[in-house]
């Protein structure tokens, strides 16, 4: 008995402490070191966290490169599978599309109404900031369902942010590094979120199973009825992290143990791009929105004013030009008028001169004639002592002369 115990101790000692030819570290030393790491990690030691962040950055990148061949195999496998299912899915989709189109109109109205009502009760409604991220690594072991996204604290990603695939909820951010972040999927065993089951509005908790589905927990049997089968699961918004009404999945089946299984709308194995966002209360957001809108409006008004001013200036310049052109025209017209007037004047003057000259000539001729006539007929018109004729130089005298004497004058 003692001998076998000794053998065991010797073997253990040799296993722990004996360094083999190629071993640099002893097993015991490394085990103690890993235990220290575990203990410090459980106590949330800052140094361990920093080491973890540094290791994360390096490992995620190298893991991305190394898993390229595996990803290729995975993609090929999935694509092949999809090709086989392609025709069936096409048929299904055709029927679904018809139904959805008819429902779409009703939905649009319901969404608008819902938004209006939610804003009244200050629900978590408004998306604060939305970041699109690429999935780098999607290692989903049976014990952990999480993925790595290529956005980190550098891109304002914060712990607890919501992750969506299209409009469907995928999970939340649980770890943020500088350029990467880890997203805990809804299917993870440790994921528990408050949900509403519609129709009926039953409140419950959705818990991941570590596989590709989830289960509804903490629900009384009274609430399980015919409506529960094939019902849709949405986030309830309790807890404040998620906005109420984000679609998650459909109830798949209820087994004998009354375990309600939920299949997700989004296929977590096919995630390539996701939206990472957070929600803020409508009130605070609305204020900011109003501020932003006011700023935007003032900017728009300022721009419009600038435009108007520029237009006014342009118009004024045009008007000035037009005025200047009109003035020039008027001036030109006036000049033309003046010239014409001057010409007319000159013509008139010329005419009058001609007339005057003609008159003068006539007068001269008349005077010549008059003188000639005066010589001849002055005796017949000139006043003398004994006749009652006209004084020399009077108009009567002149008339008399021109009429060749008093006789003709009388005639």
């Amino acid at each position: 008995m003692d001998g076998s115990r000794d053998d065991f101790i010797i073997a253990i000692r040799s296993a722990f402490l004996k360094r083999e030819t190629q071993q640099t570290f002893s097993l015991l030393g490394l085990i103690i070191f890993s235990l220290i790491l575990l203990i410090l990690g459980s106590l949330n030691f800052k140094i361990i966290n920093y080491i973890k962040i540094i290791v994360n950055e390096g490992v995620y990148r190298s893991s991305l490169v190394i898993s390229i061949p595996e990803k290729f195999i995975k993609k090929t496998y999935i694509n092949t599978n999809e090709h086989f299912k392609f025709y069936d899915e096409y048929k299904k989709n055709k029927v679904e599309l018809k139904n959805l189109r008819s429902k779409n109109l009703l939905n649009e109205f319901a969404i608008l109404e819902n938004n209006r009502l939610k804003s009244i009760i200050d629900d978590y409604l408004v998306i604060s900031n939305e970041i699109v991220a690429k999935i780098l690594i999607d290692k989903q072991s049976p014990f952990s369902r999480s993925v790595i996204a290529n956005k980190g604290s550098k891109n304002n990603i914060k712990k607890g942010m919501v992750v969506l695939d299209g409009e469907y909820l995928v999970g939340k951010v649980i770890e943020v590094n500088y350029i990467t972040s880890r997203i805990l999927l809804l299917s993870d065993f440790n994921s528990k979120i408050p949900v509403t089951i519609e129709p009926g509005g039953t409140q419950s908790i959705l818990s991941g199973t570590g596989k590709d589905d989830a289960i509804i927990e903490y629900i009384k049997d009274d609430y399980i009825d015919n409506d529960t089968y094939n019902a849709t699961v949405y986030t309830s918004g309790f807890g404040g992290l998620f906005k109420a009404g984000i679609p998650i999945g459909k109830i798949k089946n209820i087994d004998l143990n009354k375990e309600i299984k939920v299949s997700f709308f989004s296929d977590f194995t096919q995630l390539s791009f996701v939206k990472i966002l957070s929600y803020e209360e409508a009130k605070t957001k609305a204020k900011e929105k109003i501020k932003l809108e006011a700023q935007k409006e003032s900017k728009i008004i300022a721009e419009k004013l600038k435009k108007i001013q520029a237009e006014v200036e342009l118009k004024a310049q045009k008007i000035k030009k037009l005025k200047a052109e009109e003035e020039n025209k008027l001036k030109a017209e006036e000049e033309i008028k003046l010239k014409a007037e001057e010409e007319i004047k000159l013509k008139a003057e010329g005419v009058s001169r001609l007339k005057a000259e003609e008159n003068l000539a006539l007068n001269i001729e008349k005077q010549k004639n008059y003188k000639d006539l005066e010589l001849k007929y002055s005796s017949q018109c000139k006043k003398r002592f004994f006749n009652m004729l006209y004084k020399i130089g009077t108009p009567e005298y002149k008339n008399c002369i021109l009429n060749k004497g008093i006789k003709t004058f009388n005639e």
Binding site: A15, L27, L30, F33, I66, F143, T269
Partner: protein, 172 residues
């Protein structure tokens, strides 16, 4: 000259193949989860470490195993140090078996491997649940252990082939 250096490079790669495979496995977390098989999962790294721990001929240092554990923890988001501890415990078990065994046989190894991975996974499960409050499905863990145990036979034979054909060992 160039041919000689090429040959030596290939030889180096082949000699260090277990290390390369180990790091590729932890970095890519090599599994077949995308097959969507509900009741199938196995831990290749456990098989590799146990086999290499049993054989003196294969070049796989404890330091590298420790480092691989740290990387695995980072990739699958486990508390840092947990996988390292599991891997090293497997190494301890393999070293112990190697010391006490005079005439190695695959059947004995497989049984011993089953006990080892059961103990190691129990320790990990306990640490995860009790200290770190991280819930894991016990059923999944058992399925993983079961398939790892079954596939040990397949991989052990493959590694044997590697030893005979590539490392040119006759004492396997």
């Amino acid at each position: 000259m160039n041919e000689i250096s090429k040959q030596s490079l290939v030889k180096k790669i082949l000699l260090n193949a277990p290390i390369i495979v180990l790091f590729i496995s932890v970095l890519s977390n090599f599994d077949f989860n995308y097959l969507d098989l509900d009741y199938f999962s196995f831990n290749f790294i456990h098989i590799l470490i146990f086999y290499c721990g049993l054989k003196k001929n294969i070049n796989l240092g404890y330091g590298l195993i420790f480092l691989a554990g740290l990387i695995n923890d980072t990739v699958i988001n486990l508390p840092i140090g947990l996988s390292s501890l599991s891997y090293l415990l497997i190494c301890v078990s393999a070293a112990y078996l190697r010391t006490i065994t005079l005439r190695p046989s695959l059947s004995k190894d497989i049984i011993y491997f089953l006990v080892t991975i059961l103990v190691v996974n129990s320790i990990s499960y306990t640490l995860l649940n009790l200290i770190f409050s991280i819930t894991t499905e016990y059923k999944d863990l058992l399925i993983n252990v079961f398939f790892t145990f079954l596939l040990y036979f397949v991989f052990a034979n493959l590694f044997k082939l590697y030893e005979i054909k590539i490392l040119r060992r006759s004492d396997v």
